[in-house]
């Protein structure tokens, strides 16, 4: 190991880092803490002075209300299904395309990439009505297809993966090609494993965006049986505008699955692959 003569300074630096991390994390968490705490409060204690940092009395009424007023399991299952399908699509198609843009040469590569990037620069509102009409023509309104198919791939994901893939040394790819791998083999055997932190990031973001997507599902879906969680919960909120505590309960329930996904993905990929990268 290294010389240990720097230990005192090393410790001070370490403690300082901990302190900064701790304080900023707490600041970041305050709004969440506040909303979680509020979700357990009775309505009249939401806006008090002094503010109630711990609910008194603590009540589960809001959660019960949310869970019984709407078919929560159904909405949850819908959200899971749509988010999973979309994420799988993204991981596969986006990374593949990103590889082509990052590591293959072909005519028009940069031009096509830039044109694809253009699609990000138009707000979704503008495409809403024409896209709805397209769905109507395809008879996909009020269906899972309308939620999944247009979202199987995105330039955001391609862009993200491209930037990660750019830093893979070309020599590794050439070595694999010389070994006789077709491009697809190079992709699956060399590129994908090396890009795992990037893929993990893509998974997190895609899942998250799909999970939270609200505008499009609300417009294109009519049947309650197909509603995703944000759509279902938003309607609940509209019914109960005066109950902040209940709104917070709905908010917490919506955010919870995403938090779990994030924790899971972190552990599986980022932690694991850090070790792998070091060995490299």
């Amino acid at each position: 190991m290294r010389a240990v003569s720097k230990r005192p300074r090393h410790n001070l630096r370490r403690s300082l880092i901990y302190l900064v991390l701790a304080v900023t994390s707490i600041l970041m968490l305050v709004p969440f803490y506040w909303s979680v705490v509020t979700s357990f409060k009775l309505e009249q204690f939401v806006f008090t002075n002094p503010p109630q940092w711990w609910p008194n009395p603590l009540t589960l009424h809001n959660y019960l209300s949310v869970l019984t007023n709407i078919p929560f399991p159904r909405y949850f299952a819908n959200s899971v299904f749509v988010a999973l399908a979309t994420t799988l699509g993204h991981v596969f198609f986006d990374t593949l395309a990103a590889y082509a843009f990052a590591k293959l040469t072909f005519p028009g590569r940069d031009r096509i990439f830039f044109i694809m990037l253009l699609a990000l620069m138009v707000p979704f509102q503008v495409n809403l009505i024409p896209l709805y009409r397209i769905m109507a023509i395809l008879h996909w309104t009020d269906s899972y297809a309308a939620l999944i198919v247009p979202n199987l791939t995105s330039i955001f994901g391609i862009f993200l993966m491209r930037q990660f893939l750019l830093s893979i040394p070309n020599e590794m790819l050439d070595a694999a090609r010389i070994d006789g791998c077709g491009e697809f083999g190079v992709f699956s055997r060399v590129v994908l494993p090396l890009a795992l932190p990037g893929v993990a990031t893509l998974v997190i973001f895609t899942f998250m965006n799909t999970w939270n997507d609200f505008l499009w599902p609300r417009i294109v879906l009519n049947s309650e049986t197909l509603f995703t969680l944000p759509v279902g919960l938003a309607q609940l909120q509209m019914k109960n505008t005066s109950n902040q505590a209940q709104i917070m309960a709905g908010t917490v329930l919506t955010a919870l699955p995403m938090i779990l996904v994030f924790l899971f993905m972190q552990r599986q990929f980022i932690e694991g692959m850090t070790a792998g990268a070091v060995k490299e």
């Binding site: 007023n69 009505i129 109507a136 309104t141 417009i219 938003a234 509209m238 019914k239």
Partner: protein
């Protein structure tokens, strides 16, 4: 190089073709406000399904009608969809322009101006044969209500619940101090000063057209000229009215500016920041469910005026989009909802005010309300409805509304004088009106 040009021109052609298809509306839609709608008789022998959109939410008077209606009309099936207020507006915009609209929808009367001007809703007169459940339209509604649902001599909506503004006041505080509910503006100032205590027990001030218009009407002013061609909310009477209203806030300091960051009004009622406010009958239901502990503390009265009583007139209407394919069946449902006994349901379920005059005067609705100290609260709202006016039905109403609201905000922030703010808003509105 040739292939590039070819592809390019192909793209242009494709774009033109597609946009022509998209620009022209895909389903049959009117080019101008709908003429008298004659609908080929729907397959009245077979079964039809109509879609009903309901934005009332949990306490809806519409949902309970579905089952009994289907029993009475076995060959009409209802596909019932509950949405919220925002979603209904957005979805209506999307599906009416390019999809399958519902056959019946609940719409807010403030949406009517631009929809009616664009011919979005069917004329209910021919569909109904000129009668609403055996009564002529003009006898079923007050004149104000009738004018609210009429556009270009067509009846574009069946007013289902109505909204007019009256004064809600803390009767218990008034009694303590030996005060009577104010009848004139000056009385309002006097009473407000005696009731207010620092920043508590104030009169609610709202920078919006709903309230601003009330004050303007009460001083003999208007928003637009009777033929809807000129903007007159900056006339001397109107400016005076808004000046008086603003003085409550900035000069006399007896009012509280109820911006969105004040939170929910019901909270303001409960914690005592508000002792007087102007709002509609729907609020009675909200108070009963969210503030039951305040029963007996509040009463309603005609809003004080300087020259004549006045209020905006709004509410919920039931409409049939003009591209609906099942208009006959849709009409049957609306007619059913407008039956006397079902209109009473508007009150019993939603706590709102049924628009049918007969229902309003019925004993089930016109009760001595224990929450309001035994007062017949609906009588006050019915009285107000007599002099209430709907917003003008012009295509650019939303622009005018925005300009006026902006002026109110500027005035409340002390950014401009009332006259300047209203003059500028009038100029913007005239621009919009004449486009």
């Amino acid at each position: 190089m040739n292939s590039k040009k070819f592809l390019f021109s192909l793209a242009i052609v494709l774009a033109l073709v597609l946009s022509a298809c998209a620009g022209a509306t895909p389903t049959t839609q009117p080019q101008a406000p709908a003429q008298a709608d004659t609908q080929a008789p729907a397959a009245s022998q077979g079964e039809v399904t109509i879609t009903v959109w309901d934005y009332y939410g949990e306490a809806t008077p519409v949902k309970p009608l579905v089952e009994p209606f289907m029993k009475e009309y076995p060959n009409i099936k209802i596909k019932y969809e509950a949405l919220d207020w925002d979603t209904t507006l957005e979805k209506l915009n999307v599906v009416m322009t390019g999809g399958t609209p519902p056959d019946v929808a609940t719409v807010d009367m403030t949406w009517l101006p631009h929809f009616a001007a664009l011919g979005a809703f069917s004329d209910l007169k021919p569909l109904s044969g000129g009668q609403l459940n055996g009564v002529a339209w003009q006898d079923a509604y007050t004149p104000g209500a009738l004018s609210a649902i009429t556009y270009n001599d067509q009846i574009v909506a069946a007013l289902y619940d109505f909204d007019v503004y009256a004064l809600y006041y803390r009767a218990d505080l008034f009694e303590q101090k030996g005060l009577q509910p104010p009848k004139t503006w000056d009385e309002l100032v006097t009473v407000a000063k005696q009731v207010a205590e620092g920043d508590k027990y104030l009169y609610e001030w709202d920078p919006d057209t709903f309230h601003g218009s009330q004050w303007i009407y009460e001083n003999g002013g208007q928003l637009l000229s009777p033929d809807n061609t000129q903007v007159v909310f900056n006339s001397p009477e109107a400016v005076d009215a808004i000046q008086f209203y603003t003085d409550l806030l900035l000069k006399e300091k007896v009012a509280i500016n109820w911006t969105t960051d004040q939170g929910e009004r019901i909270q303001g009622l409960k914690d005592g920041r508000i002792a007087m406010f102007s709002d509609g009958p729907y609020n009675m239901g909200i108070m009963k469910s969210a503030a039951p502990e305040m029963a007996g503390q509040w009463k309603v009265a005609l809003h004080p005026y300087s020259k004549q009583p006045g209020s905006y007139l709004g509410g919920t209407g039931l409409v049939i989009p003009s591209t609906s394919q099942q208009k006959e069946a849709a009409w049957k449902f609306i007619e059913y909802a407008m039956r006397m006994e079902n209109q009473v349901g508007v009150f019993t379920y939603a706590g709102a005010a049924p628009a049918l005059t007969a229902a309003l005067e019925s004993p089930e609705v016109n009760i001595e309300d224990p929450y309001f100290g035994g007062q017949k609260a609906f009588a006050v709202f019915l009285e107000t409805m007599k002099t209430a006016k709907p917003f003008p039905y012009v295509r650019s109403w939303n622009d005018i509304d925005e300009a006026f609201t902006n002026a109110m905000q500027e005035v409340s922030l002390g950014q401009k004088s009332v006259k300047d703010a209203l003059d500028e808003a009038a100029a913007t509105s005239t621009d919009a009106l004449n486009k």
